[in-house]
Every structure is written in structure tokens, then in C-alpha cells.
């Protein structure tokens, strides 16, 4: 077994280095789906978070509690619910999103949106009271005030978006249920729904360890890049120079 593992790693590295078409197709589709879902979610979630932060309304505390609970929404549950909505008899059946990359993007957005909204609210709440007062005193309209606050919390909000991306790319349950792990036609990446996580799951069950390990290493690589990026943002070092110039 030890030999098989070592052999699996060697073959996996060969697959990556030789840019094996299947590995490349799966990786590219994974990045397209997760980057799109995170980007679309961020466009909705940051303003939504800012809106919730800036307005007092009945049940605000409850809404924030629900959002925070959804951080831990099981991905298979999200997949199941969305499946019911997207199936032919379901209310969103007309979209024809089931077993498509679009469907997977929607599924990941559902998982990521509460996370980015919640962390945006936290990021804005973390801003010093004196600064909030100062912005009002300087004559900002409510909208201008929120824009300034988002600018001031930009590092924390960017970190929230990156965390969202991490959740999107690493989840397997919803991608499997909504996407169906369909292999793409050669030359048409978007015809398939096989992403890193679902492929690893399949190849492992089929005993194709080298391919599973190769895909796993890529996923790990993405995770490392994300983590390093997050650390740099949190220490502010990534932007420090350009802000000082």
C-alpha cells in the first residue's frame, strides 16, 4: 500500500507537469465556476451587508443570527434544496440549470453569500465609533458614508470574499447533486460539470489514485495560494507600498 501511495504521487506529478488534458479541463472548469460564483456573490453580498449594517429595522438581530447560522449550512442540504427548485417540476425548473455549470454557480452562491454578507457586517461594525462620527460630521450623505466605511474596511471585506472563494472551491456536496459530475466533451470545457472535488470523489471510488492525488494536489495548491493571499491582505502588506506612493 505504501508503494501504491508513492507511485500514485509520482504519477500525479507527471499528470500535472505534462498538463494532462483531463486534469487541465477539470481545473479550469473548477476555477471558472468558483471564481464566477464568488464574484457574483460578492457583488450582491457586500452591498447587502452594508445595507443591513447601516439600517435599523425590526428583527435585525434575528436576520444577522440567521446569516451567521448559514455559514455552516451543510453543502449537501443546500444542494438538495436547490435540486428541488431546479428540477423540471420545481419553481425554477424553467431555467434549465440542473446538471450545468450555471447550476453549480448558483449552488455555490447560496453557500458563499451568507458568509460574505455576515463578514461584511462584522468588518463594518469593527470600524471605530470616532471614525463613524467623523464621517457624519464631515457632511457625508448616508450613501457616501457607507462607501467611505467600505473603503476603510476594504482589507477585511476582501478577506471575507477570499474566505468565500475557499468555501466555494472546496465544497463537494452541492456540486455533486446539482452538477452531476459530468465529464466535459473534449474542447468544450463548459459542456461538463466535473470539478476538482467531485472528480476526486469519483476517481477515489474507482481506484484511480494517481488522478485523484493529482487533482487533490491542485486543490491543495489553490488553498495555499488563497491562504497566503489572505495573510498578506490581513497584514496589509500587499497594498502597503502602493498606498504609500
Amino acid at each position: 500500500m505504501v508503494y501504491e501511495i508513492i507511485d500514485g504521487f509520482v504519477q500525479a506529478i507527471q499528470l500535472i507537469v505534462s498538463l494532462n488534458p483531463e486534469v487541465v479541463t477539470i481545473t479550469v472548469l473548477t476555477l471558472i465556476v468558483s471564481l464566477t460564483s464568488t464574484f457574483l456573490s460578492a457583488i450582491i453580498s457586500v452591498p447587502a451587508g452594508a445595507y443591513i449594517y447601516a439600517h435599523d429595522f425590526f428583527g435585525k438581530r434575528l436576520v444577522i443570527n440567521i446569516i451567521q447560522t448559514l455559514y455552516a449550512l451543510p453543502t449537501v442540504l443546500a444542494g438538495l434544496l436547490l435540486f428541488l427548485f431546479l428540477s423540471h417540476q420545481g419553481p425554477l425548473g424553467f431555467l434549465d440549470f440542473l446538471f450545468t455549470p450555471q447550476g453549480m454557480i448558483l449552488a455555490q452562491m447560496i453557500l458563499v453569500t451568507p458568509l460574505i454578507i455576515g463578514l461584511t457586517i462584522s468588518a463594518l461594525s469593527g470600524i471605530d465609533k470616532d471614525m463613524r462620527h467623523s464621517i457624519i460630521s464631515l457632511g457625508a450623505t448616508k450613501f457616501q458614508a457607507i462607501v467611505t466605511l467600505i473603503q476603510e474596511a476594504r482589507f477585511a471585506i476582501l478577506a471575507a470574499v477570499i474566505l468565500g472563494f475557499g468555501r466555494a472551491i472546496s465544497e463537494v456536496g452541492a456540486a455533486m447533486i446539482i452538477g452531476g459530475n459530468i465529464r466535459a466533451f473534449p474542447g468544450d470545457i463548459l459542456s461538463g460539470t466535473r470539478v476538482l472535488t467531485t472528480a476526486i470523489s469519483l476517481e477515489t471510488s474507482q481506484g484511480d489514485f494517481p488522478l485523484a492525488i493529482a487533482l487533490g494536489l491542485i486543490l491543495l495548491g489553490v488553498a495555499i495560494v488563497v491562504n497566503v493571499g489572505l495573510n498578506m491582505i490581513q497584514s496589509g502588506s500587499l497594498w502597503k507600498n502602493s498606498w504609500n506612493s
Partner: protein
């Protein structure tokens, strides 16, 4: 123009059930420098935030620049005619130039106007050439001057300053004080400054309001506040060290004699005999001499023994036991010249007119 810039009537602010500002009624004249002095935690910052319309009062009336400021629609426009500098400078994560420009950007001023005004403001606060630097790299004094530039670049009619120099070294503090005086004189800006530093209050303000436990028990000229405080609490806060309870024994046309623990002190007051009063006078109004024969017009002359000497900066508080403890303020130099020391016999004198007499409640 002597119209009111700000008028408050029975202003009230509660946090939860606690009154942080209670029953505050006063007015600030257009173009004056108005000081708000009071101990830490007395409500100075809260009062400034209410006047700057950042916080909503719980009750009372507030008129600013002739407009009822508590009408929701009026607030935003009034706010744009005022500015506040907080005790701890707020620094936005951007360049010094962009920090100063932020208020003008909110007002949608054109780029060329912003550029001209900000450059001018940088110059005025002594930060010329700092525009491109990240604001986060400034020292405490520089950051406070940047925040001042940001507040005044929008040409406010009323400028609020919340203990602007508390955290600064004396030189930076003096620079800020100078800028404030210049803005007031040249632009006729109404300035409202809170401070717990009596000397700054005295140095800058035309009139002063004393805030204690959220209430404003006295408003007056600096002379009135420092020499004629209306309560013993205010007296203690403004540095009146000689405070004695006594009873008026006689009064001839306002020239009264007050019995303080068996010692007779002459004071000027309209109160009738048998009134229980408190006598207040400042240590700098007490003169110390080594011989009885020194000629003085003061009606109160007592001999005593020096009990304690407390140095404070270039001065020393000399406490003399004359049956009651009297405090005199002398310079360190004259203390040395006179050979003052604990146990030395000396004479103290003070004028009847230097004593402020208040009736005991």
C-alpha cells in the same frame, strides 16, 4: 454681529436610563470662542456631539444658526455648515491630501477647487509637502493638525474642538491653539472648544461654560468663572484653593466681617448678618511677606507658620497655618528669595474685594 450661533434650552441626553446631559440651557454668540470646561467624564464630548448634530438629544430644544436643529430635514444641511475635531485624530487609510479633501468630496466640489483649498489648508497647518504621504505614517501632532485642516477646509461657520490638544506635546498644542485663534479672527468662525485644561480655557476662550455631571451650572467670562464661581464644586475645579465656611457677624453697606472658626475676615458682600456663607479666593490673590510692617492696602492681614510647600511648575503653593490653613501662590524664585520653608513664621494678606462670597445651601 452679536446674534446667537447656538442656543439650547433644557437639552437632555440619556444613555439607557442614565442622564449624561441634563437640563443644559445656554447660548453661544456668533464669532466668539466659547470654552466648555469640566472634569473628565462630565459630558463635554457628548455635549459637542449633540451640538454638532451627530447624536440626537433625548429632549430639549436646540437652535443652530437660527434654524431649529432638531427637525430631521434641517440636520443634514446644518451639519454641512459645521465641523468637529475630535480628541483622538481620526485617520482614514489614504493619503494626507485625500484625508483633508474628504469633506469637500462629500460636497461634490470640483477637483481644481479641492486641490487649491487642500494645498492652502496643508500650508496653514504647517504640513506643506505632506500631501502624498500615507496619513497612517504621521506623528500624533501631525495627525491632529491634518484632522484640523480637514475640519476647516470646508469653511465651517461653527468649529467644534473636543480637547484638541490633550494628547499633544506643548509645542504641537501651541501650534493648534494659534491656528484656532487665527481662524476665529480672520474668518470670524465661531469656535466651541472643550478642555479640562484650565489654562487653555483661559487663554483661548471669550466666555466659558462649566460642565459638571452633565449639567452646566455656570456660564460667564473667564474672569467670572475663575474669580466668582457660583458653587464650591466649580471653585475647586477652577483652582480656588482657599474655601472657608463662616457666618457674617456684621455688614456695613456691603463691607462685612465674616467669622471663620474664630478668625475675622473682611469681605465685600450684600448678605445680611447671621447668613451662613462660603468664602472663596484664589491662592494668587494672597500675598506673603516676612514682616508685619510691610505697607498693604489689604484689610486682611494674618500671621502664621508655614505648614507645607507644594511645588507646581514654576510656582509653589505655600500653605500657612493662621488658625485656618491659607494657601498662597508664589513663584519658586521669590520663595527662595524670601527664604520660605516649613516652620518659618510669616504674614499673609489679601484684599476684602478679592473674596467671592456665596451663600451656603
Amino acid at each position: 454681529m452679536s446674534t446667537s450661533a447656538i442656543e439650547t434650552h433644557a437639552l437632555l441626553k440619556k444613555y439607557d436610563e442614565r442622564d449624561v446631559i441634563r437640563d443644559v440651557s445656554f447660548s453661544i454668540r456668533s464669532g466668539e470662542i466659547f470654552g466648555i470646561i469640566g472634569p473628565s467624564g462630565s459630558g463635554k464630548s457628548t455635549l459637542l456631539r449633540l451640538l454638532d448634530l451627530i447624536e440626537q438629544p433625548t429632549g430639549g430644544r436646540l437652535t443652530i444658526l437660527g434654524t431649529d436643529a432638531l427637525v430631521p430635514d434641517a440636520k443634514f444641511l446644518l451639519r454641512r455648515r459645521m465641523a468637529l475635531l475630535s480628541q483622538k485624530p481620526v485617520i482614514f487609510s489614504r493619503s494626507v491630501f485625500d484625508n483633508i479633501a474628504i469633506g469637500m468630496e462629500y460636497r461634490k466640489k470640483v477637483k481644481s477647487e479641492i486641490s487649491r483649498a487642500v494645498t492652502e489648508a496643508l500650508d496653514a497647518v504647517g504640513l506643506a509637502g505632506y500631501g502624498k504621504r500615507s496619513a497612517r505614517t504621521l506623528s500624533g501632532g501631525e495627525a491632529q493638525r491634518m484632522a484640523l485642516a480637514r475640519a476647516v477646509v470646508i469653511d465651517p461657520e461653527i468649529l467644534f474642538l473636543d480637547e484638541p490638544t490633550t494628547n499633544l506635546d506643548p509645542i504641537s498644542a501651541e501650534r493648534i491653539d494659534d491656528i484656532i485663534i487665527r481662524l476665529n479672527r480672520e474668518k470670524e468662525m465661531t469656535v466651541v472648544i472643550s478642555t479640562h485644561d484650565m489654562i487653555q480655557g483661559q487663554h483661548l476662550a471669550d466666555r466659558i461654560g462649566v460642565i459638571m455631571d452633565g449639567a452646566l451650572p455656570q456660564v460667564g467670562t473667564t474672569k467670572e468663572i475663575f474669580h466668582q464661581p457660583t458653587t464650591t464644586n466649580i471653585a475647586r475645579f477652577v483652582g480656588v484653593k482657599n474655601m472657608y465656611s463662616g457666618v457674617i457677624t456684621e455688614n456695613h453697606g456691603g463691607e462685612a466681617i465674616v467669622d471663620v472658626a474664630g478668625i475675622h475676615i473682611a469681605a465685600v458682600t450684600p448678605f445680611h448678618p447671621q447668613t451662613k456663607v462660603t468664602l472663596l479666593f484664589r491662592p494668587e490673590d494672597v500675598t506673603l511677606h516676612m514682616e508685619q510692617s510691610v505697607k498693604t492696602s489689604a484689610r486682611n492681614v494674618f500671621s502664621g507658620i508655614i505648614k507645607k510647600m507644594i511645588p507646581s511648575g514654576p510656582f509653589v503653593d505655600v500653605i500657612v497655618d493662621c488658625g485656618i490653613d491659607l494657601t498662597a501662590l508664589v513663584t519658586i524664585q521669590s520663595s527662595e528669595d524670601l527664604g520660605l520653608a516649613r516652620g518659618v513664621k510669616c504674614w499673609v494678606s489679601f484684599k476684602a474685594t478679592a473674596i467671592h462670597v456665596i451663600e451656603e445651601q
